[in-house]
């Protein structure tokens, strides 16, 4: 019965036991089985000239090391953060982080570091945000009240974010359903983290205070693709105003995910919507897995209140003498502690996410809460073989462990060990009870790691430094009259124009509808051609070439207008676009000259067809029946572009 325990096999078996399906193979049935549920908090920076509550310029960034001064702060929980606390709990406030803020005089003032009270909210930013609130079908408030929302991680030097609700109860129309929106708020962006090592976290303050909106949906999404569709929709809606920032990090999603029986877990700061399906898929299954672990543990341990860890300090030069991190720990005179987790055999190597096991949940908390840099532990169900797992037998003896227990070894500075042990015990105890409320950090491969404990609900209070801002009906009505067309109507329009569906995202993401519409209506050019030109040709050019500094999409309108006016066949536009994109300073005549374009009549082009046909008979390389036609088109293609359509050319060749 007692066969040798293989963690790798245990990982595979546990993955199977919870019914994990890879994203590509998963169907709605799978998501219904685990009760997939998700909602979005979509953040979008606004294109304002100044920051939200001070007069620093917005959108001016600097390198990590380009700063004028540093300020040190420690965030202290205000009383209610701890609810029913005792004094020592506060004193031992676990993550004792020293926060360093780097300040550059070009983009931060004394407001950013909380040495000056806020100035009035930027009215330009407020107006953009209100337009988006109206576009999102929100009920717009009558008076804007600025609140403080506490953040203890140090990402904002005040310890809170100034934020205000502009509207509630909106909706967006997706392909197959409506998704309800809870609210839209305007808020200040946070610092950018430079590093977080041990007890020191370093931030820069360039992004801090930039105006941002947050659109929050109800948890109406029932599968990962739908979440992505929603995220895209909201992004397109924001961009349709033309008044939001685009580019790296200007739009970020927090994705809330749960499974049936699980809990709301917030995946923070997802800046690529394409990552959303894999991240939400994995998170729902991770929660599903934790529920299985809970079940297993509760079967094994009847009296969970009495469950606790036991530990011993050990000497690394005796045990695991070849494992380098432990050697270094010894050199640094760090503590090395072996810990027994009763009844945790098979749990540590239990599947949680692709290539992640339960032990990772512990390790990541040790990093964040106890400030132990990774690698910060080894355990008895380790996959990697650079340590001798049988050494754990000796450790098990030292700890008086039983057969169904698992063991960990951690190391680090003496003063961090108390928090480390508490963290391990706490995480393991949670495994008996529930999926922990967390915010998690995302990775490109679709996995997530623990970032922070999810803050409680009571962390909002009025900003006594700011006055309320009244929004009267005249103002709101004025804004309502001047809004871009709804995104779902734009999608409808693209469909009616027969634009290929694979170009919708590109067109909406870059807010190209106005330009496209203008070309179609003003210049009377075929809508499918124009849509495809943008959705395929422009996309290709953008991916392949570097743009001229001043390139703007409206230049494409000028291009078509020029071709129309000069009665040049539009198919040459595809050839002209890369030139226009790269060398915007050239006029269209010069571009055509560079392309060696010559105006020719149909007759001039057609008259060489017979001789080409003869030539083909001589060099004929293919027996394909159309080979001659294709070859001749190839020969005449350059002459035809700008003069006649390739379709006409083909017809002419076929008929002659």
């Amino acid at each position: 019965m007692n066969k040798v325990f293989d963690p790798q096999i245990n990982y595979e078996e546990s993955k199977k036991a919870i019914g994990y399906v890879p994203l590509k193979e998963a169907t709605q049935k799978d998501y219904d089985r685990i009760g997939f549920k998700a909602g979005l908090e979509v953040h979008q920076q606004l294109k304002s000239k100044r920051k939200l509550f001070c007069y620093c310029p917005a959108g001016l960034y600097h390198d990590d090391d380009n700063f004028n001064a540093e300020i040190v702060r420690h965030m202290r929980p205000t009383l209610s953060e701890l609810g029913e606390y005792d004094g020592t709990a506060l004193m031992e406030l676990k993550t004792k982080k020293e926060i360093i803020y780097r300040i550059n005089n070009d983009n931060a003032c004394t407001y950013e570091i909380d040495d000056t009270p806020p100035f009035q909210m930027d009215s330009e930013a407020l107006e953009i945000a209100l337009e988006i609130a109206i576009l999102s079908k929100m009920n717009v408030v009558g008076e804007v009240h600025i609140a403080r929302k506490q953040y203890l991680d140090g990402s904002i030097p005040t310890g809170f974010q100034r934020t205000a609700i502009l509207g509630v109860e909106g909706e967006i129309q997706l392909k197959h359903k409506k998704v309800r929106l809870i609210q839209l708020s305007i808020e200040e962006d946070a610092c950018r983290e430079i590093s977080d090592i041990g007890h020191t976290r370093v931030y820069k303050t360039d992004r801090l205070g930039m105006p941002l909106i947050e659109t929050v949906t109800y948890p109406d999404f029932v599968n990962p693709e739908e979440v992505k569709e929603g995220a895209n929709y909201i992004r397109f809606l924001n961009r349709s105003t033309g008044k939001v920032r685009t580019g790296m990090g200007t739009a970020r999603e927090d994705v809330n995910v749960s499974c049936r029986g699980g809990t709301r877990v917030e995946i923070k700061g997802v800046s690529h919507n394409n990552w959303i399906p894999r991240l939400t898929h994995n998170e729902a299954f991770r929660q599903w897995t934790l529920l299985r672990i809970k079940k297993i543990l509760n079967q094994r341990v009847k009296n969970i209140e009495k469950w606790k860890i036991n530990f011993e300090h050990i000497k690394a030069n005796v045990n695991f003498s070849t494992y380098e991190p432990l050697q270094i720990a010894r050199q640094n005179k760090h503590d090395v502690i072996a810990i027994n987790l009763p009844e945790f055999k098979g749990i540590l190597s239990h599947f949680t996410q692709p290539d992640k096991i339960f032990a990772d949940e512990i390790s990541n908390r040790l990093k964040v809460i106890a400030c132990l840099e990774k690698p910060n532990m080894i355990h008895s169900e380790q996959f990697t073989l650079n340590i001798n797992l049988s050494e754990f037998n000796k450790i098990a003896d030292i700890l008086n462990a039983k057969g169904n227990d698992a063991q960990l070894i951690i190391w680090g500075p003496k003063e961090d060990m108390k928090t480390a042990l508490e963290t391990i015990e706490e995480r393991c105890q949670m495994a008996f009870e529930r999926v922990p409320n967390e915010t998690r950090k995302s990775f490109e491969n679709g996995t997530t790691i623990f970032e922070r404990v999810l803050p409680g609900a009571d962390r909002m209070y009025p900003d006594t430094d700011s006055a309320a801002i009244s929004l009267d009906d005249n103002y709101i009505n004025k804004l309502s009259k001047n809004l871009p067309v709804d995104v779902y109507k734009r999608i409808e329009q693209l469909k009616n124009w027969n634009v290929p569906e694979d170009s919708y995202n590109y067109i909406l993401k870059r807010n190209l509808m106005l330009t496209i519409e203008k070309i179609i209506l003003d210049l009377k050019i075929d809508s499918k051609f124009v849509g495809t030109f943008f959705g395929h040709t422009l996309k290709w050019v953008e991916g392949k070439f570097c743009p001229y500094d001043d390139f703007i999409y409206e230049k494409i309108y000028d291009l078509f207008k020029y071709l129309k006016q000069n009665k040049i066949e539009l198919n040459i536009a595809k050839k002209m676009l890369p030139e226009l994109y790269q060398h915007g300073q050239l006029n269209f005549d010069s571009i055509l000259k560079n392309l060696k374009f010559k105006k020719k009549t149909r007759q001039e082009i057609f008259k060489v067809i017979p001789s080409l046909r003869k030539k083909f008979q001589k060099i004929k390389m293919s027996k394909n029946s159309n080979a001659d036609i294709n070859w001749i088109i190839g020969q005449l293609r350059n002459n035809a572009l700008g003069n006649i359509s390739l379709k006409d050319l083909k017809t002419e060749i076929e008929n002659k």
Partner: protein, 461 residues
Amino acid sequence: MTDNIFQGYKGDSLEILKKFNVRVWGQIEVETNRGKFKGTILPRAENDDDQHIVIKIPTGYNIGIDINTITDIKEIGYSKANYKIPEKEFPYSKGLPNVKLIGTGGTIASRLDYRTGAVIPAFSPGELYGAVPELADICNITTDKIFAVFSENMGPSEYITLAKAIGKEIENGIDGIIVGHGTDTLHHTASALTYMIQDSPVPIVLVGSQRSSDRPSSDAALNLMHAAYAAGHSDIAEVLVCMFGPTSDEYGFLHRGTRVRKMHSSYRSTFRTIGDIPVATITRKEVKPLKPNYNRRRNDKKVKIIPYFNDRISIVYYYPSMKPDIIDSLIDNGYKGIVIAGTGLGHVNKPLYPALKRATDKGVNVFMTVQTLWGYTHMFVYDTGRDLMAKGVVPVMNMLPEAAWAKLGWILGQTEDRKEVKKMMLTPIGDDITYREPYNGYLIYQGGVPEVEEFIKKFHK
């Protein structure tokens, strides 16, 4: 029913609440021409307009609803917020010094009521321990709230009460005193107490905070810990102001009460010693004296309390083209003393001379300080100075205008004898006049200069 159910609402908005029969703390659904809103009606701030109703929506945010858009309100529930600060008994540790914390009304420690946003001051030892438990490792604290006024309302009668209360504590054998105080007039109070409490055997430490303790980044807790350490453990038995050194959470300064001034409207490191260096730096664990000479802690319980103040005194901040009637009105209104903050070395313009002459002739005591704050009056350099002195205006060296104000009031509370007043003014107390200005007593470096930039990049401002 009392008006309390409509807390803060007035005029049109009050009419709306009455019309729909709803009240503060009522959970409501409001129909408006901008859509439907749900939430709890909150009290409205007294100074806000009467065109909006404030509600807290389920996500915890507050919003205002324009009453002109409202078509219907229904109350669907009611729950009144009632929050009390959690208390824990402040532990007594044998061997730790006993410190008295006297409250004047500034909220050094406080907590928030998340429903109303109101700041509830934490003051009793139990509340304080709840807010700043680290204090229990520094000293044993008892508290006494002798009044509750904002800093700007602190004045002579409060100084007197405070001085007497502190005297009593010292006689009872306390090891140190902390006075919690708003920061705006902290240096006025510190000066006054320096004059009223002399030869104290224990430290008397005034402390405040620039950011209220309802913020995670507040300087309150650290200032309080610094003050507790200074009061309980330091050897410096003087009236001191204890506030942040740099704006970073690093260390504090102990400033002499008469030489300190609030120098920035909002910075944490706003208090600076002017014309000298601070007495010491302080952390939670250590006092490092910067000045070699200070009054040492003693074991006796002897202290001189001189609790007098005549508040018919004024500070006149001179500006070009000031008219003599400013001075005349002070004379005519029975003022007994004027402290002028003059330009440069201590000057005012000629048209003021007759008025000043009239003042001194009428027995008003006129003293000259400098509005440059740094540096000495020096009225022999120019004729204007000499003329002024001839009119009876007495320069008071490098005494700060606020210290001179407090000192003059304190002296006039004891005597109106002109000679005596002058003598007392010019007799230094607690370094209010220093005969030597050290070279590092004036340090306002200008940003932009490469070596200054290099310095502030390396050391926290």
